[in-house]
């Protein structure tokens, strides 16, 4: 049974925050305090992508199906 995601607005995609912070970068240039940082964003993207590509759930499922545990 799939539940409707609740309080979605509490967790913002870091890309969005990065874009929002650019308004400060291109104007006053101060206080980019909610920018996730470009390098951190790249690391996040890499890890997120690897989680999607190497889906542990699916791998487990196949291992069990193949009888390898």
């Amino acid at each position: 049974m799939k539940q409707r995601p609740l309080a979605k607005q509490l967790v913002i995609n870091p890309y969005r925050l990065f874009v929002y912070a650019q308004a400060f970068r291109f104007s006053s240039g101060r206080g980019r305090c909610f920018s996730p940082g470009f390098s951190a964003l790249c690391v996040w993207q890499f890890l997120n992508l690897s989680h999607h590509l190497v889906d542990r759930g699916t791998i487990r499922w196949w291992r069990v199906r193949l009888g390898k545990g």
Binding site: M1, K2, Q3, R4, P5, L6, A7, K8, Q9, L10, V11, I12, P14, R16, L17, V19, Y20, A21, Q22, A23, F24, F26, S27, S28, R30, G31, R32, C33, F34, S35, P36, G37, A40, V43, W44, L47, N48, H51, D55, R56, G57, T58, R60, W61, R63, V64, R65, L66, G67, G69
Partner: protein, 689 residues
């Protein structure tokens, strides 16, 4: 090799498990069902490692500054490894018992036994474990069904906590009564993953393995090892849950980088708690309080707690009306904490009392900060002065229209009017009366009975604090005041006098950080979200029971508009309180400070204020805003969205933008956030602050 038609039992949820078991139980093919506990019956909002690290932080805090949390963690790891290796050397599984681990760990840390610390650690770990756990959806109805089917139900776990601890955990979640027995690897140092725990249970309970089903989330220990023992293993394969755990691990990794990442991790945990422990609501205002304002107000309360620990006070006064919600939140905190009181003050009653020695030019200017100011009439309203007495005197100084706005604050007529001794003689007795009643009210609530106290309010200029000092600062028992504001923007005054400290926790314009300025971009929503439902205080009266506040008439036009919005405000506050309840739990688990959360909270607020959804713009602009400076004006937050015609008349457009309380909502009819971004950039350029 795969025998495709002889598929292993992989079931995706509890209703599938029930459907699978039902015929077997009815046909007496199954008489025992065992269930794994962690990640099967109980889900986690935080990983076991993070819970253990949290315990280590609390142990380090308990032991004092010479112990670092990392060193406490390493000592724990080392002690655990020794115990596990010892068990393995004895031919048992690589397991350890919490009851053995804690004394060994404490002895390693302190080089001596310490039963009190052992007790503290066990209590703390169990408490935090319970905070991190929740009963997964579908579990309760499954267990209820199973218990009605006359089946023996066992709980089996590979865990370092012993069965007595696990029973306490299951009791906490009201699950213990469903189980006939609880088996844990820590008790006999034999686990499911080696198959030994299954053998032991079968012997002790004299079970027929062919009629025993075991269900768990681990494909190896719950499915394969059970099957290898001749038990019917069922692997609970919840794909969404596995994905969530992956995302949780990713959030933990990123949180180590600080910046927004720690806040994002914190609020993702909070979201998970909300998801599993609360029910959704169709009420937009409740959801807005829970998902948007809740984060900001809870971070403010955390910052307040930190400051109260650093600078202890004897009493905290929550200032009417916008301190109301903060007091509600404060009262949910656990003792010990300073005494608190809701104090009926408003800018109106404070400023009225400040005229006991006459009205200065600086004081008169305060009345002109309102965009709808009406010159001398505004002065009378703000300071509670009699218009009828002052009108003839004003005419003498050239004021033909008493309600005409005064744009030039250095207006020669105004200067002469205020310098007129007759004018001041008319003002002073009224001010003295206001002041006397206010002073008696303050004495009654114990304002002068404590040498150090805190005032908590939403913000913005610190008018109440400034005028309290000005009016009563000469008293020898006047306390040292620490004013804590959600946002502090001292545009009107800069000198608050000695021992009169002010700080904005979420936003303080003196920090000169453009990014944290976001509450000032739409201050009305924060004021509305925090205010009490009652009317503002306009004065005091003497009664046999003492001095009591006089609240604004319920027939005043602004009050009528407020009452119409009270339902929405109450719903917002209910949402904020739900958020705060979960916020405290997650904070206890993570030990984050407000400074760890604020970068992300600024991002959340930037999203909410500058890039509102259409739904947010639609509902929030239904609210009206009033102020307590003596006027009856109502500021409507709603403005008709901009159309293309507005863009053809730039001057008109600029005026609309300037007059709007929430300028970013003007763009809500445009189906992309790009204009908001461009507008935000232009605005940041223009204000430069």
């Amino acid at each position: 090799m795969l025998d495709y038609f002889n598929q292993p039992r992989m079931l995706r949820d509890w209703s599938a498990v029930q459907a699978c078991l039902q015929p077997q139980i009815q046909d007496w093919q199954v008489n025992t069902v065992s269930l794994d506990i962690f990640d099967t019956l109980l889900g986690r909002i935080d990983t076991p490692e993070q819970v253990q690290r949290s315990v280590c932080r609390k142990v380090a805090k308990q032991l004092g500054s010479s112990f670092k949390a990392q060193a406490v963690w390493q000592a724990r790891q080392a002690s655990e490894q020794v115990l596990r290796q010892r068990a393995f050397a004895q031919g048992l599984d690589y397991e350890c018992r919490f009851a053995d681990l804690v004394p060994a760990w404490v002895e390693r840390l302190l080089a001596a036994p310490n039963p009190e610390l052992v007790d503290f650690i066990i209590r703390t770990e169990l408490e935090l474990e319970c905070l991190a756990l929740y009963v997964k959806p579908g579990v309760l109805s499954f267990l209820q069904w199973l218990s009605r089917s006359n089946t023996q139900i066992l709980a089996i776990s590979d865990m370092y906590l012993e069965s007595t601890h696990l029973r306490a955990v299951l009791e906490k979640f009201e699950l213990a009564a469903y189980f006939d027995a609880i088996y844990v690897s820590a008790d006999r140092l034999q686990g499911k993953y080696s198959g030994k725990l299954y053998q032991l249970i079968a012997r002790e309970q004299n079970l027929d393995k062919a009629r025993w089903v075991h269900i768990g989330d681990n494909p190896k220990s719950d499915y394969q090892m059970a099957s290898a023992q001749g038990i019917q293993g069922i692997w609970l394969y919840e794909k969404a849950e596995l994905k969530r755990i992956d995302q949780q691990q990713l959030a933990i990794k990123m949180a180590a980088r600080g910046s927004i990442w720690s806040g994002r991790y914190f609020f993702s945990m909070l979201q998970q708690r909300l998801q599993v422990l609360s029910t959704d609501s169709d009420d937009f205002y409740f959801r807005y309080g829970r998902d948007v304002l809740g984060a900001a107000f809870s971070s403010f309360m955390l910052g307040l707690q930190e400051r109260l620990q650093r600078k202890p006070v004897e009493k905290i006064f929550f200032v009417a009306r916008d301190g109301y919600l903060f007091q509600q939140m404060y009262q949910q905190l656990q003792a010990p904490k300073p005494e608190d009181e809701y104090i009926y003050l408003s800018r109106r009653v404070i400023t009225a009392a400040s005229t006991a020695d006459g009205l200065t030019h600086e004081q008169a200017q305060v009345a002109f900060y309102n965009p709808k100011q009406q010159g001398l009439r505004s002065i009378c309203k703000v300071y509670g002065l009699p218009e009828e007495g002052l009108q003839p005197l004003a005419q003498r100084h050239g004021f033909t229209d008493f309600a005409a706005p005064i744009q030039d604050w250095q207006d020669a007529r105004l200067v002469a009017f205020l310098a007129d001794e007759e004018v001041q003689a008319c003002i002073r007795p009224v001010g003295a009366q206001h002041r006397q009643l206010l002073e008696r009210y303050l004495e009654q609530v114990g304002f002068f009975s404590h040498p150090q106290l805190a005032l908590v309010d939403i913000g913005w200029n610190g008018t109440v604090q400034k005028f309290l000092k000005q009016a009563f600062g000469q008293r020898s028992d006047f306390p040292i005041i620490n004013g804590y504001y959600f946002a502090f923007v001292p545009k009107m005054y800069h000198d608050f006098g000695t021992h009169n400290y002010c700080e904005g926790i979420i936003h303080d314009s003196r920090r000169d950080n453009a990014c944290e300025r976001i509450p000032a971009e739409f201050e009305e929503i924060f004021e509305q979200g925090a205010r009490a439902l009652e009317a503002t205080t306009i004065g005091y009266r003497e009664t046999p029971a003492g001095i009591e506040p006089i609240l604004k008439s319920s027939q005043a036009p602004d009050r009528l508009a407020e009452v119409a919005c009270n339902r929405m405000v109450a719903a917002i506050q209910a949402g904020v309180l739900v958020h705060w309840q979960h916020f405290q739990v997650v904070q206890r688990l993570t030990d984050y400070k407000s400074s760890d959360l604020l970068p992300y909270v600024y991002g959340l607020l930037e999203r909410a204020v500058v890039y509102p959804t259409r739904e947010e713009a639609h509902y929030l602009t239904r609210l009206v805003h009033t102020e307590d400076f003596g006027h009856d004006h109502v500021l409507e937050l709603g403005r008709k969205a901009l159309s293309w015609q507005d863009f053809l008349h730039p001057q008109h457009l600029w005026r609309r933008v300037q007059e709007s309380a929430w300028r970013y909502a003007l763009l809500d009819s445009i189906p992309t956030s790009a204009p908001n971004f461009a507008f935000r950039m232009a605005y940041l350029h223009s204000v430069r602050k």
